[in-house]
C-alpha cells in the first residue's frame, strides 16, 4: 500500500483543514487508538502500565503544556515543574475540601489554579524576552518550591511534608485514585484526559488564537501590526500552557505517584520537559509524544537490556550510559535537527509520499 493522497480530493475547506488529511494517517491513528484502549489494558501487565505508560502520558501532557509556550509562542520557560506542582497541590486541597466531587473534575479544575499562577509569572514576558524571561520563570520555579515547603497548609500540615493521595471513587464505586485504584483504571483515565487535551490543543493551535501565538513567536513586531495584542497572546499562552502543566502535575500525583513532595516538582523536572519538547520537536504536538517516549521509555529499555542479554553491568553504569545518551541526543538535535523527532518523521513521510519516484 502506498502512502500518498492520490485520488483523495478535498471538496471543502473543513475537510482541507483536518489534522490527518491522508487516509493512511487516519488508519494509523485508529490502529494506535485500538492499541491504547484495547490491547494495552488487556495485555499489559501492571509494571508496564504503571511504570511505562502512565508516566509517559503524564509527561506528554506536561510537554504539550511547555511546548505551547516555548514551541508555539516562543517564550522560554524553566518553571514547568513548579506549575505542575501548583496543579498537584491545588488538586490535593480541592479534594480535601470537597471529598465527594469526582477526582477527575478536581484534576481538571486544578489546571485553572496553575493557569492563574502562570499568568502571574507570565507578566514579565510583556517586557522581556529570551534568556531574561527564562530567568524570571526560574524565579517562579524557586519561589513556588519555597511555597510548597513553607506553607504547610498546602500539604494539610502532614508531618512528612508530603501530599498523600486519599482514596477517591467515582462512576458508581470505581476506585479512581489512592492505593486501591487499579493500574488499568488509572491508565484509562490518564489516557482519556491526555488524548482529549491533545485534541483541544490541536484545535486551539489551528485557529485564531494559535496563529496569534505563532505570530508572536515568529515576528512579534509584525504580529502587533496585524492586530495581535501581545498582552493577550502571551498571557493566554502562559495560561493555557500552565493549565496543561497543572493538570499533568495533578495527574502525576493522583494517578501515578500516589504521594509527592516538593522534589517531584523541582527544577530537574522543568529541564526534563524542556528536553522532551526539544527532542520531540518544538512546535509539534506529535513531537511531545515522541519526546516523552524517547526520554522516558528508552532508558527503561536500556536498564532492562543488560539483564535480558545476561550481561552483568552494574546499575550505576547503566544510569551513566543513559545520561550520556540523552545528553548526546539533545546536542545532536540542537545541531542537526532543531525541529526534533517530529521533523524527522515528517521528512520520512514526505520521502514515502514520493517513493519510489522522488522526482516525478
Amino acid at each position: 500500500m502506498f502512502y500518498r493522497e492520490v485520488g483523495q480530493f478535498k471538496t471543502n475547506y473543513t475537510a482541507d483543514s483536518q489534522v490527518f488529511p491522508i487516509l493512511q494517517d487516519k488508519l494509523g491513528i485508529i490502529a494506535m487508538l485500538v492499541i491504547a484502549y484495547l490491547i494495552i489494558p488487556l495485555a499489559g501487565n501492571d509494571f508496564f502500565i504503571t511504570t511505562v505508560m502512565i508516566p509517559f502520558l503524564v509527561f506528554t501532557l506536561a510537554t504539550i503544556g511547555l511546548n505551547i509556550l516555548v514551541g508555539y509562542t516562543g517564550q522560554l520557560s524553566l518553571g514547568t515543574g513548579a506549575f505542575m506542582g501548583v496543579g498537584a497541590y491545588s488538586c490535593y486541597k480541592l479534594t480535601t475540601i470537597f471529598p465527594d466531587v469526582n477526582i477527575i473534575i478536581m484534576v481538571l479544575l486544578s489546571g485553572f489554579f496553575a493557569a492563574a499562577i502562570g499568568i502571574l509569572f507570565g507578566l514579565p514576558s510583556l517586557r522581556i524576552k529570551g534568556f531574561y524571561l527564562a530567568v524570571t520563570t526560574l524565579a517562579a520555579q524557586f519561589f513556588l518550591e519555597w511555597a510548597f515547603i513553607r506553607i504547610p497548609w498546602l500539604y494539610n500540615y502532614n508531618a512528612s511534608g508530603a501530599i498523600e493521595v486519599p482514596q477517591r471513587d467515582g462512576f458508581g464505586g470505581v476506585v479512581l485514585a489512592g492505593a486501591a485504584a487499579e493500574p488499568v483504571t488509572r491508565y484509562l483515565v490518564v489516557l482519556s484526559i491526555v488524548l482529549a487535551m491533545t485534541w483541544v490543543a490541536s484545535n486551539i493551535i489551528r485557529g485564531r488564537i494559535g496563529r496569534s501565538w505563532m505570530m508572536i513567536r515568529d515576528m512579534d513586531i509584525a504580529a502587533e501590526l496585524m492586530g495581535v495584542r501581545p498582552l493577550y497572546a502571551k498571557l493566554s499562552a502562559f495560561a493555557v500552557s500552565s493549565f496543561y502543566c497543572g493538570v499533568a502535575g495533578a495527574m502525576g500525583v493522583f494517578f501515578w505517584l500516589g504521594a509527592a513532595e516538593v522534589e517531584s516538582f523541582d527544577i530537574n523536572h522543568s529541564f526534563l520537559f524542556l528536553f522532551m519538547a526539544i527532542i520531540g520537536g518544538l512546535g509539534s504536538l506529535i513531537g511531545c509524544y515522541m519526546g516523552a517516549a524517547f526520554i522516558w521509555i528508552l532508558p527503561i529499555i536500556i536498564r532492562a537490556l543488560p539483564g535480558a542479554l545476561g550481561l552483568d553491568i552494574n546499575a550505576a553504569t547503566v544510569e551513566h550510559i543513559n545520561f550520556m545518551m540523552i545528553g548526546g541526543m539533545i546536542i545532536f538535535f540542537l545541531i542537526v535537527e532543531p525541529h526534533g523527532l517530529a521533523r524527522l518523521w515528517q521528512i520520512a513521510k514526505e520521502k514515502l509520499r514520493t517513493w519510489p519516484f522522488p522526482y516525478s
Partner: protein, 272 residues
C-alpha cells in the same frame, strides 16, 4: 435651471479638494542625535497611490513607521480619517484599517503561506476561546468563511501553488508577494508598501506593479508606496513626495517631481 450650473461646480470642487485620508503635519522624529524626519508635512488622498521616494537613509521607512504607530514622533500630528493623534500603538493602527509590508520581508517564517495570509484576518475573527477549543460550530464556520476570503486573495495574487509551503522555503520574490497577500487579507483602507519591488527582476517587478494597480483599482485601497525605481513610480503613482536627509524637498505629480531641480540634485548627490 440651476442644474446646469451646480453640477459643474460640484465636480470642480471635488477635483480641487479630494478627500484627505491621512494628513501628516509637521512631523519630526529623532533617535538620540539622529534626526530621521525633520518637520515633514504631506497628505494622502483617499483612493490614490502616493509614492514616497528619496535616497537611502532619507527617512522613508521611518515615515511609514510613524504612520502605523511603530515610531512615536517628538513633534507633529497625524490625522487619519478625521481622527488626530500624536502617538498610538501599532495595534490601534491595525484596527483603524492601516496595513503594511516591510522593506525586509517580515513574514511569519514558521508558518505556511496559507497561515501567514490567514493571520491577516486576525482582527476580523471574534469567536471566543470556548469555540476555538472545540473548533466546531461557530468557530469552524468563521474559519471557513475567512479561508474563503483568503483563497480569493490567493487567486488574485496567483500563489495557489505555494499555499502549503512554509514561507521560509520560498524565493524572495514570492515572499514579497505573500507579504502583500497578508496585508491585503486585512482589507485595509490604507496600505503601506515599503519597497515592494526591491531585489526583484524585471518580470517580477511587472507582476508586482500590476498587482498594486489592481488592488488600488478593484478594492479602492489607498496606497502609500516607497520605491526607488523612478520608472515604476512614474507609472504607478498619482502623486509623489520626495524626502532627503529627513526633509521634504518636493511634492507633486510624478512629472512635476522628476523635473524638480532639488530632486535631481538629491538623486545625483549634489551637495546643498
Amino acid at each position: 435651471m440651476n442644474m446646469a450650473v451646480k453640477p459643474a461646480d460640484a465636480n470642480d470642487g471635488r477635483a480641487n479638494a479630494p478627500e484627505v485620508m491621512l494628513d501628516i503635519s509637521n512631523i519630526s522624529l529623532s533617535f538620540g542625535g539622529v534626526h530621521a524626519i525633520k518637520d515633514v508635512s504631506f497628505n494622502i488622498h483617499k483612493g490614490e497611490i502616493r509614492a514616497i521616494i528619496g535616497p537611502n537613509g532619507a527617512g522613508k521607512t521611518s515615515m511609514l513607521n510613524v504612520i502605523n504607530g511603530f515610531y512615536h514622533p517628538q513633534v507633529g500630528e497625524i490625522t487619519f480619517k478625521g481622527n488626530t493623534r500624536t502617538q498610538m500603538r501599532p495595534y490601534v493602527a491595525a484596527t483603524q484599517g492601516i496595513a503594511r509590508t516591510f522593506q525586509n520581508v517580515a513574514l511569519f517564517h514558521g508558518m505556511s503561506t496559507l497561515d501567514n495570509i490567514m493571520s491577516g484576518r486576525t482582527l476580523k475573527m471574534h469567536k471566543n476561546f470556548f469555540w476555538q477549543m472545540l473548533r466546531y460550530g461557530p468557530a469552524m464556520q468563521e474559519e471557513v468563511e475567512h479561508r474563503e476570503r483568503v483563497e480569493e486573495i490567493i487567486d488574485f495574487l496567483e500563489i495557489q501553488h505555494i499555499r502549503r509551503t512554509p514561507v521560509g522555503r520560498l524565493p524572495y520574490g514570492l515572499q514579497k508577494r505573500v507579504e502583500l497577500a497578508r496585508a491585503l487579507a486585512m482589507e485595509p483602507e490604507l496600505l503601506l508598501l515599503d519597497e515592494p519591488m526591491a531585489g526583484m527582476n524585471l518580470e517580477e517587478k511587472e507582476d508586482m506593479s500590476r498587482f498594486i494597480l489592481d488592488v488600488n483599482d478593484q478594492f479602492g485601497t489607498t496606497i502609500a508606496l516607497i520605491e526607488h525605481d523612478m520608472g515604476v513610480v512614474m507609472d504607478l503613482s498619482t502623486r509623489v513626495v520626495v524626502l532627503d536627509h529627513g526633509e521634504k524637498i518636493a511634492d507633486g505629480t510624478p512629472a512635476e517631481v522628476s523635473s524638480d531641480q532639488n530632486v535631481i540634485d538629491a538623486y545625483l548627490g549634489v551637495a546643498h
